[in-house]
Symmetry: C2
Subunit: 501 residues, 2 copies
């Protein structure tokens, strides 16, 4: 997840001040409303050392009536706290009706710093996630609004900030040996944070990852999210549905996807499409990777490792070409290419995952899906073939399915073939004018093209919510077909080599 975050995001000084001022006014009014409606709020600020947690909390409370909020700093457990179950100190700090409690670090400590320092096992950590999710769920269904922020900065930026703090005698005490130790463990913590975000980004209490290198941008994102969350919760309270609503209804109020696009995480916008590869280089590398793949294919058959490759991408994005270069060198008895069209009536009569489960490869085999279960959160979402509740819960359902495959030992990789809108037009026109390819182009392709922006939003959200450590998305820069095919081959070969070693 964190690798998709664009840390160069900035907010112009003048524009930023205007936005922040108006947010202050709004939050101040919303706080009064929330108070009179008796809405309790918990705001959690987690993030890297020196990412600006304290600064952000200060900025946030500027807008608030001090009689209505309280800030808790969570450190290592005190001896008194250690004499109670872990969650005790957070249960005793939950807000009453109408109050706002802000946490500078929080109950996540157990699956973050404590986890690394005490070398907790994967199973202990899994129990930690379970307890946290239960805690947040119980509070959410009881009407508490939980807003969670994770402040993200790069290793380089962290180093710069630590050095800056150390430089001044007024602030040098703020940087401890421990801070530098964590800095050296940055890469390890990226994994730990990513796993935490994956496991606790629930429908009822989603995370908001904040690009925190530019303080103004970070503050604006946090305040926007807080205002948005309060507004939605107030709406629910006024409609008097909160008390008895189902989980999913409650979840619908706390959506990151309501944020303005400037505050969305959009991995696609980061993709550099100018990458290319010469014909000669292509030929050479293709041959090299294909011969390695041929050997790997028989090795994974012998070791009974199943492989699941899913290809998604824009129409004419080059899925077919990339798949062909993979299969050319593989033993046809050991792989299957599964094209996914709209479901037929019999398939529609089942759960949408059923037809994909039925075609999952057995151990030692490779299944290549040309389009996949991700249709649920793209075409089905956009065309209204399923309800909002249905596609929203699909992210977790898909993560669960892929986790079961990975637990079984499968290699699971998802490719997104990215091209820009101009390139798509060029390819459409080329298809139209080539009698041998014109069958590939249908009216639907042109119609989908008109919905480019809607698809872009859906794909960005999909990639953010389903990029997991064990079943990653690989975004393939596809404007240059040679480059794209080599990247797919290389990714598969390296993943298989890693798995077999």
């Amino acid at each position: 997840m964190l690798k998709n975050v664009d840390l160069t995001k900035k907010l112009d000084k003048k524009e930023g001040k205007k936005l922040l001022d108006s947010l202050d006014t709004e939050i101040s009014a919303l706080q009064r409303q929330a108070r009179s409606l008796g809405i309790p709020v918990m705001i959690v600020i987690e993030g890297w050392g020196a990412s600006g947690k304290g600064t952000m909390i200060n900025r946030l409370i500027q807008a608030m009536d001090p009689r209505g909020f309280r800030v808790y700093s969570i450190h290592k457990a005190t001896p008194e706290e250690d004499l109670h179950p872990y969650m005790w100190r957070f249960w005793t700090k939950i807000p009453g009706r109408g109050r706002i409690h802000i946490f500078d670090r929080s109950w996540y400590r157990k699956v973050l710093r404590d986890r690394v320092d005490h070398e907790m096992t994967a199973d202990q950590t899994a129990c930690g996630y379970h307890d946290i999710n239960s805690f947040e769920q119980m509070l959410t269904v009881d009407g508490i609004l939980i807003l969670k922020f994770f402040l993200h900065i790069s290793k380089k930026e962290q180093k710069k900030r630590f050095e800056h703090l150390e430089h001044s005698p007024d602030t040098s005490w703020k940087v401890t040996k421990d801070d530098w130790k964590h800095h050296r463990q940055y890469e390890e913590y990226v994994k730990v944070y990513d796993e935490m975000l994956e496991n606790t980004d629930t429908a009822w209490a989603p995370w908001c990852v904040v690009e925190a290198e530019d303080g103004r941008y970070a503050a604006a994102k946090i305040l926007t999210r807080v205002a948005e969350g309060l507004r939605a919760q107030i709406g629910k309270a006024e409609a008097k549905v909160a008390a008895d609503a189902g989980m999913e209804e409650i979840a619908a109020r706390a959506k990151n996807d309501n944020l303005p696009s400037a505050f969305q995480i959009m991995p696609l916008s980061e993709v550099k499409l100018d990458k290319s590869c010469s014909r000669e280089e292509y030929k050479k590398k293709k041959e090299e990777y294909q011969s390695r793949l041929a050997v790997l294919h028989s090795a994974l058959y012998k070791k009974r490792i199943p492989v699941v490759l899913a290809f998604e991408g824009w129409d004419a994005g080059g899925k077919g070409g990339a798949i062909k270069r993979l299969t050319e060198c593989m033993d046809p008895r050991g792989y299957e290419v599964i094209p996914t069209a709209s479901p037929n009536d019999y398939e529609k009569a089942h759960h949408y995952l059923w037809r994909f489960w039925s075609r999952m490869p057995k151990a030692g085999h490779v299944a290549i899906f040309d389009r996949s279960w991700y249709g649920r959160v793209m075409v089905e979402r956009i065309e209204g073939f399923c309800s909002g509740t249905e596609w929203r819960r699909a992210y977790q359902e898909i993560n669960q399915m892929e986790a079961e495959l990975a637990d079984f030992g499968a290699v699971v990789i998802k490719f997104w073939m990215q091209i820009d809108k101009d390139e798509q037009e060029r390819r459409f026109l080329a298809r139209r004018d080539n009698p041998q390819k014109s069958w590939k182009l249908t009216g639907e392709d042109w119609r989908n093209r008109e919905k480019w922006d809607q698809y872009e939003t859906a794909v960005n959200e999909m990639i953010v919510k389903t990029s997991t450590a064990r079943a990653p998305w690989v975004i393939v820069e596809g404007n240059d077909k040679y480059y794209a095919r080599i990247k797919v081959l290389k990714t598969v070969v390296e993943a298989l080599e890693k798995r077999l070693s």
Copy 2:
């Protein structure tokens, strides 16, 4: 859970035939309706060897149109199945719209037989429960009705049935060495089944435990539950809410508490209230247990073990007297008695568990709750102080809290002080006539007494749903005060001795 099941339940032949005949007619009609509405149904039959799973399935399908259902027998995985993730073989067997799939054993194999045979760790088993719950949740929200039955018989009955089968040359092949092996492991399996029931008795797919020693009773209970489930699901489908309903709304359709009382599990009705203890024996035993308790109290302080004792029971059931006999011999610096009254305004402004979390003992201390968090599923349920959704979800919330205490190392015991209605009246009258005790009796006591039957239903359900291996309910036969006090002392002393050893 299983220890609360009364295996002597029977159904009269004539009455049973009449009931079963009418259920056949009803199920047959419901099946047609469900089919035309496109409702998919999964019926799971789990249970002891020779508990009559096959017989029950045969009985169930008598009423059904054979074109609409299919029966799957789940055995050890085939080599083909072993080449796929565990859930693959169940995902591929889910019913399409309008179909009924019946499972003779099921996906629970992993946390039952496989668990014992392969000596899975607690953590592996926890993952198994998670996968099962996710599977059932995904299907339920997609509109599949899941009905799960567990057929229970005693060890003695199982032995009798195995011997009976072995006796006849026609059926002797049915009893294998493996069956006898499992028979010898009966006690171990009780624990395994109990844990499975605890962990997978979800709001969306609750278990129905069937007293299976009398075949007629078992069949009637299963058919009644199936009819009830179908009827509720058809109602939902007709109201067209299913597709977009929240989890809790969906859950509301599949309730065991809609069954007629003859088919409810009622632990209170099993309690033999004629137990008594002479004054002399009482004095002797009290002294003995109290001196042991005094020693234990200081030992658990030294070992930093927290103890949580919750007392619930009928008004005038003897809670206070039992608590007094416990505390008489304990060091006052090491325990606290926490009387629970109706929440004050400040407490009401928080989650209902907050005030109990705040008073949980620190390690090495004893907290004795005179009434407790169980008020949520008794008085609050009956007086309408919380909504149906709220008290229904409280069972899982309470189990989660107690599990966190137990994980931390706490001893958690809950006592239900049981008396009968006549005895309560005698005590009320005695209080009224005794000037020193008359303050104890209020108008509210008389008003609660009028709701005896409602409380009985609530208490039965509470005991069944919150009796867990690590935080058990102990029902105390309370008509004889001496007997009751000794039982409480004995239970506490033995639990602490076990924990300290």
